[in-house]
Every structure is written in structure tokens, then in C-alpha cells.
Symmetry: C2
Subunit: 483 residues, 2 copies
């Protein structure tokens, strides 16, 4: 029996849970087996169908937009975008407009001095490989106000009723700005003191176990990653350096000072040794926001230029970017057992990478100002590299985005993380990205193109906390293990 951790600050309690896979309910291996077992029970049949056959969804006569019968959930309409700089000055594109703020919530509870997180094994129609580990609750507002007449999501009351829980994390975060307009979710973690019933498809995990499962391809959902990314840590005070991974009396890994996780934790206390001040980072972002003033005009889906219907998909005429399609989904284990919905399918797999480098003894991350029409404020902060990996572009290095080569051809000893992860399967169909963290040699200076800046993990965390980091950057930060 380990003493309660409630005398610690929340950052230290999160860290303690991040540093251990020791869980009285299940080992990580048992959790993997359980996920596999849930995957064999929960299965979805997903059929691509013509838009005209979709139930509950239709083309709005005046605009050609794809809308739900109730006007709720989301709408696929068109955008006409003009940029006053950049190579592509004007373009049209479909966008998923989802103005309602949903909830991505995780219930936490302390067991034997350790904070555990209640995660769900859940299947979404667009998942590339079956069941994924998701937050306790994912609910759109329409969802929990019962627009689709399904069952009310389980555990929702812990998030809506403040008497039942204590808030540990509570932030609004936005999602893909290239395909979503205004889609934001409340990323929330609440701690419950009372007994929490553990329903079928739910299990308790340490944060260390979730981090461990993030090294398995496509297993931890984007929704889980974004909530996990919001968890605050703080610098660890290293009292006695160890040479290897050991456990102390609390069952907590001590970690290794020289390990990447240990160096990440240490770099949270940059102690004024960041390359740029926080004010300078703010000014960098302000400057980008002033420079890139997109004009974004809403147009009907049928007015889009260079986009059209083909084989029951709405796609770009050059076959690029993504297309929108209708699917029919049959499931056994969901609020609604059988439904149709639109999904977005990217035409190519992507690469999402952060470069890290020690500068003045502190790990820095290379951040990029990304302009995307659906971002809440046009420019958001993204990872060092975010590009598509088509055969076409791979065979022509001249077409690569800045740093693509560095990320793709990094030697194995420089790769701190590498795994395929998928994007939200409730909106995206088989959308996969390779997520990578590559450490650069501190002695190598690189000229940064316009719009890039080196920031410390503390600064990145501050940007995240204020909703300025895009979902790709958040996702990748969530993947970083502290062990």
C-alpha cells in the first residue's frame, strides 16, 4: 500500500503516473491482450455508398452542401481562400464545419497513491486497424444533447456536474485546420474520489502505460493523444542520478538522467536558458499572423472550382489532398447501431516530425508557423515537418518541404520516436501519419527558413496551454515517453 499522492502538486502526480507501468489492475501486456479481445468483439462493417443513398444526410438544394437532417453535427461546405503571400495564392476546398464544442474527457482516480486514467476500447468507422484506446468520453454537443436519440454517453456526468469531480485539466483545443472549420473540443481530465463503475470496454491505465502503447502503431486514438498532450508536467528535481532504470519505494521509475525522457523532464525547467524569450516567441507569432492574412470566404460545395464528383466521391481534379465520401456503418457496440455518415479520406500518408536539439544544454524543439484556413487564428504553431509522402513527391526530392530530407533520412541513432498513428476515425477514413522525433547534432547550425523558430519544451507547453499548438504538434508531444 503506497501513501496517497494528494499532498503532491498535480504536475508531480501526473509525472509519477507517467513514470510507471505498474498498475494493480493490469500489466501493459494484459492491456494489449484486452484491446485485442475487444477488437474481436467490437467490429464495424464500413461500406462506401453513393451520397444519394445516405440516410439522414443529403445535399442542401441551394448550396450542394452535405448536411444532416437535423442541421446538427457538422456540415461539409466549400471555402474560397486567397492568401496575400505564399506560392499558392488562391484555392477552393471543401471543409467540415463543426461549430459545436465537444468533450474529450478522461476520468482519473487515485489507487494506492497512483493516478490512473479510465480509457475506453472504441471503434470508429475510419480507424485503419480496429479498436483504439480512447478517452473515457468523446461527445459532441449534439451527442450529449441527444440529437441522434442514442444512449447518453457513459460517464458524461462526471464532466458536466462539478460536484462529482475535481478538474485537473480543462482546455479548448482545435483540430485539423486544413479540413475542419472551427472544430474544437474541450480537453478535460477530472479526478473522481468516489468509486467509479468500470463498464465493459473500459479499463484503468497509468500514464506510463498509455505512453508505452503509443509505440504501437494506430493503437492510441487522436482524441486520446490530444487530451494526454494537455497534461502538465514540471521540471524534476534529480536527487540522485542513477545509471539505469530502477524503481523507488513508490514503484516509480527513477528513469535515467541521460535518457531522452529524463532530458525532456529536465528541459522543462529551462531557467531562462531558452534561445528566445517568451516575449520574442509571442512577437514571432504576432508577426506571422499579421503577415499572413487569409481571406476565407464560404461558398456552396457545388461552387468549388477544381473539385468535383467522381465515383461517388467529392475530390480534387488532380487527385490530390483528400476526398469526401459517404459510408454506411454497421456496428454492434455503439450508441447508434447502424448509421451513415460522410468521412474524409486523405489521398496520401503524411509525415509529421519534430526536430530537437540541445542548445546551451537545454533541449529545444523546432516549431513552425502553419497557415491553414480552418485554424482559429489562421496561423498556428506546428511541428518542424508536416508533409505528404506520396510516391510522386518521394521520387522528386526537389519538391520536398523544408527539412523533409532531414526527417526522412535521419540515422537510426538520431530517431527518438517513430511510429504510425492515425487521425480521428469518426471524421477521417484511414488517415495515417508517420510521427517522428529526430535529434539533431548540436554542433550543426542550420539556416532557418522564414516562419521557423527553436523553442524549449516549457515554451511549447505554454503555447499548447493557450490553444496555439496544432493537433499534429500536440499529438506528437503526447507520444513522448518520460521514461
Amino acid at each position: 500500500m503506497i501513501s496517497s499522492s494528494k499532498n503532491l502538486c498535480k504536475e508531480d502526480r501526473f509525472r509519477r503516473s507517467a513514470l510507471t507501468e505498474s498498475n494493480l489492475f493490469q500489466s501493459t501486456a494484459a492491456a494489449l491482450e484486452w484491446l485485442e479481445e475487444r477488437g474481436s468483439v467490437n467490429q464495424l462493417v464500413v461500406d462506401h455508398i453513393p451520397f444519394e443513398e445516405m440516410r439522414e444526410w443529403s445535399f442542401e438544394p441551394e448550396t450542394g452542401d452535405i448536411v444532416h437532417r437535423t442541421g446538427k453535427f457538422f456540415r461539409v461546405h466549400g471555402l474560397r481562400v486567397s492568401a496575400d503571400s505564399g506560392s499558392l495564392r488562391e484555392w477552393d476546398q471543401p471543409i467540415i464545419d463543426q461549430p459545436e464544442i465537444g468533450i474529450l474527457g478522461i476520468v482519473a482516480r487515485e489507487f494506492d497513491g497512483q493516478l490512473l486514467f479510465l480509457m475506453q476500447a472504441k471503434l470508429e468507422p475510419g480507424n485503419p486497424a480496429g479498436v483504439q484506446l480512447t478517452p473515457t468520453v468523446q461527445a459532441t454537443r449534439s451527442n450529449y444533447t441527444q440529437v441522434h436519440q442514442g444512449a447518453r454517453p457513459k460517464y458524461l456526468d462526471y464532466f458536466l456536474n462539478r460536484e462529482k469531480s475535481t478538474v485537473l485539466v480543462d482546455q479548448l483545443q482545435f483540430e485539423q485546420g486544413s479540413t475542419f472549420l472551427r472544430k474544437r473540443n474541450r480537453n478535460i481530465i477530472v479526478e473522481v474520489d468516489a468509486d467509479v463503475p468500470v463498464e465493459e470496454d473500459f479499463r484503468w491505465f497509468t500514464l506510463g502505460q498509455i505512453k508505452q502503447l503509443l509505440s504501437v502503431p494506430n493503437l492510441v486514438s487522436m482524441d486520446a493523444r490530444t487530451v494526454v498532450s494537455c497534461i502538465p508536467f514540471r521540471e524534476r528535481t534529480w536527487q540522485r542520478p542513477t545509471n539505469g532504470v530502477s524503481r523507488n519505494g513508490d514503484g516509480e521509475h527513477e528513469g535515467e538522467l541521460g535518457s531522452f525522457g529524463g532530458r525532456l523532464l529536465a528541459s522543462l525547467g529551462d531557467g531562462g536558458r531558452s534561445l528566445h524569450s517568451d516575449d520574442a516567441i509571442q512577437s514571432w507569432l504576432t508577426e506571422l499572423k499579421c503577415r499572413y492574412q487569409l481571406s476565407v470566404k464560404r461558398v456552396g460545395l457545388r461552387e468549388l472550382q477544381a473539385w468535383g464528383h467522381r465515383e461517388h466521391r467529392i475530390g480534387h481534379e488532380a487527385g490530390r489532398y483528400f476526398h469526401v465520401m459517404g459510408v454506411r456503418v454497421k456496428a454492434r457496440n455503439r450508441e447508434v447501431l447502424n448509421w451513415d455518415q460522410p468521412l474524409v479520406q486523405p489521398t496520401e500518408k503524411g509525415l509529421i516530425a519534430f526536430f530537437v536539439k540541445e542548445i546551451d544544454g537545454v533541449l529545444h524543439f523546432l516549431a513552425q508557423g502553419k497557415v491553414e484556413p480552418g485554424n482559429p487564428d489562421v496561423v498556428a504553431v506546428g511541428p518542424s515537418v508536416h508533409c505528404v509522402l506520396s510516391q510522386e513527391s518521394l521520387s522528386d526530392p526537389g519538391s520536398w518541404s523544408p527539412f523533409t530530407e532531414v526527417a526522412l533520412e535521419a540515422p537510426p541513432e538520431a530517431i527518438r520516436y517513430s511510429c504510425i498513428q492515425s487521425e480521428e476515425g469518426g471524421r477521417f477514413y484511414h488517415a495515417e501519419n508517420e510521427y517522428r522525433v529526430v535529434e539533431l547534432d548540436p554542433s550543426e547550425g542550420e539556416r532557418l527558413p522564414d516562419g521557423y523558430v527553436w523553442v524549449t519544451l516549457r515554451q511549447l507547453t505554454e503555447l499548447l496551454r493557450h490553444g496555439l499548438l496544432n493537433v499534429e504538434a500536440r499529438s506528437l508531444l503526447a507520444c513522448l515517453s518520460l521514461i
Copy 2:
């Protein structure tokens, strides 16, 4: 000759300038005389004219919107707003749509160890009392990209060309969310090392002098107030308490530990003694944003319900809120010498007040979550009280907003600041508000209505820094003298 302050951090340099009115170029009294003199030289004739007679502006045929010939500057269109809570569930209103980010910039330079700020004596057509003290530069993007063929604003290069200056403050801030859609300005202060020519209508000021002039009604413009509000300070380390205001060797007021300004400075270092943690404040705001989901739909100006044309104004049929009118302006001393433009005239004077109270020995401010359709994120953080002071509402206390009575009937000894200030005269016509800060008795507990929270000055400053404080709250914070 006083030694350079460049070895100090920027917050301390700002504080030094805020604590003195001692300025080698001019005393505060001389500055007042100069402003009066500029006011007698720079005069505007502003005539209310029918919209149809406005040059360069017209009603767009399809919508009835008021638009500029070039499509630039701003547009007056309509909004149809539905709220899912609150007393007024649905309303229509005109709004000024100004998507371009402008610049509000102040040039700073060090003279004899003291940071001085180059301010302009400037006249806007809507000013209630002539010339005001404004930032060095106020420029819309159309303005400095020369849409109106006027002269390029003076000093602009210091802000656009980073080789000429060092950035001290650089933040995007939004303006009135009740009348502006998306209007944001880059609030920026740059320091210049080289000689700066001082043109007619420009003078150097210490921050202490600007603060002093903020006790004169309608003299310091809203644009100046919002830039000044972004200036960061930090807790002062009080080395030797003094009994009165004295000057140390640097010509800096020591201030008085017990003075309100001294207590403000001291409360910047709340040292964990804030009533709520920063995370709790973030959660409070997240909760409000999720609860108040406004649906804001753009409609043509002529489609507005309960609004109509009367006496060459577009106003509300009950004579409430504000009206839009056209004016013809003739000036001697501006980029464009003679022009027409729409202006917004509020129908009533307003009251804007912060309550402050010592809680656990630290000054706290009562903040309010304000829902306004033009806010960047629907809910912004505003002062404790923001209401109109019509005869009608004054005679009926039952109709007062929460806390109106406390603000209006505060005893003189509890009033820490009280002055009439006007809103931006380039968009508003004679828009005046009474700004007040009232200190409450720490022993009095008051029940807070939903949507209010006590925060420390450090927390308020953090919210401001991230663009979450509305212009009324920023304006009032700017008025607080530290002496």
C-alpha cells in the same frame, strides 16, 4: 546624467518610467499646454450627412451593407445572433466588419537612463473634446498599403523594418466585441537606439506622465490606452519602505508602500496567494466558452429586424444601443484632408468599473466573462461592471446590472480611480464611458453571480497578454497609476 537602464530587464525599465514624471524635454504641465496648443491648431469640422451623399462609401445593392469603393477599410453589415442562454435569446444588430489587422505602435527611446515614449497629438472626427494623446502610429493595413492615396504614416518604418528597432511589446488585441467583428490591432512598442526625428504634433513622454494625463477626462485616446495596457511590469522588491513619495538617485519616485500604486506593484508577485490557481481560472473561462455558444449569422444590413433608417441614421427602433451615421470631415492636419465616413454613436454614456479587494493580503480584481458577438471567441474577460447609464435605467435600480449600485454609490474614500474616457474617435462618435476602480472592504463577503471570478493583477496581466481581456478591461488597467 543618469546611467543607462539597459542592464535592467524590460519590466524594470518600464516600471522606472512609470514611476516618474521627470522628463528632460517637458514637464507634465508643459505637455498639457502643448496638447491645448495643438488642439487650437488642429481642428476638424464634422458634419452629419445623409448616407447617400457620402463620397467613396455607398450601400451595396444586394445587401444594403455600407461599403467603401475599394472594398477595403471596413464594412457595416448585419448580424443575426442566437444565444442558447441568457435573457435576450435572439437579436439582430449592425456590426463593423474590419478583418484587417492594423498597427497601434509606440516608438520608445532611452534618454539619460529613462525610457521615453513618442506620443502624438491627434484629432479624430469622433473625439468628444478635440485633440488626444495617441500612439506614435495608428495605421490600418489599407492605410499603410496606401489604399486611400494619402501620405504614408510617419514613423511606420520603425515597426515594419526590424533592423531599425527592438521589439519590447508585440501583441494582437481585439476591440469592442459589441460593435466590431474581428477588429484587431497589433499593439506594439519598439525601442530605437538611433536619433528619432520629432515631427510637429509629436513629443516624448515618460510612462508616469502618460499615467498622469489619464486622470484628465478624454485626453488619452483609447488606442493609447490599449497599447499602454500591454506594458508588462513585475513585482517590485521593496528594499526600504518610505513614508512618503521621494526620489532616489535615479530620479525615480520610490512611491509609497501603502499607496494604491505601491500595493498594485506589490500584488504583481502574488506568490501563490491568488484565490484561484491559474488552471482554475482557465477552467472557469473554458466552462463559460462551452456554455455560451452563440450562433452568429451574417445578414445584409437591410435585412435587420428592429433596426431601420431614420433621420439619416441606422438605429434601433426603441432608440437603444447605438446608431450608425455618415459624417463629412474636413481637416487641416491629416493624411487625407477631407473625407466622408460612417461613425457609430452610442445612445448612452456607459459605466466601466473594476472592483478590487484584498484577499489574503493580495489585491484581487473582480473579472467577468462577457459574451459579445464580435469577440474572437464569444466570451472575453471584462471588468466587474460594464453597463449603460441612461436616465431611464438610472431611475430604476431594479434594472441595474449586477454590482451597478456598488460602483455608482461607492463612498469617495473607496474610489481609487474615476475619470471619463472616450472610445476610438475614428470609429465612434462622442462615445464616453466613466471608468472607475472601487476598493471593497475585505471583510465583506459578496455572493458572486455566475460568470464572475476574483483574480490577482498577475493573473489579469496573463489573460491580457494572451489576448483574452476585452478593450474596456484593458483601458481601465492602463489608467492605473503605479505612483
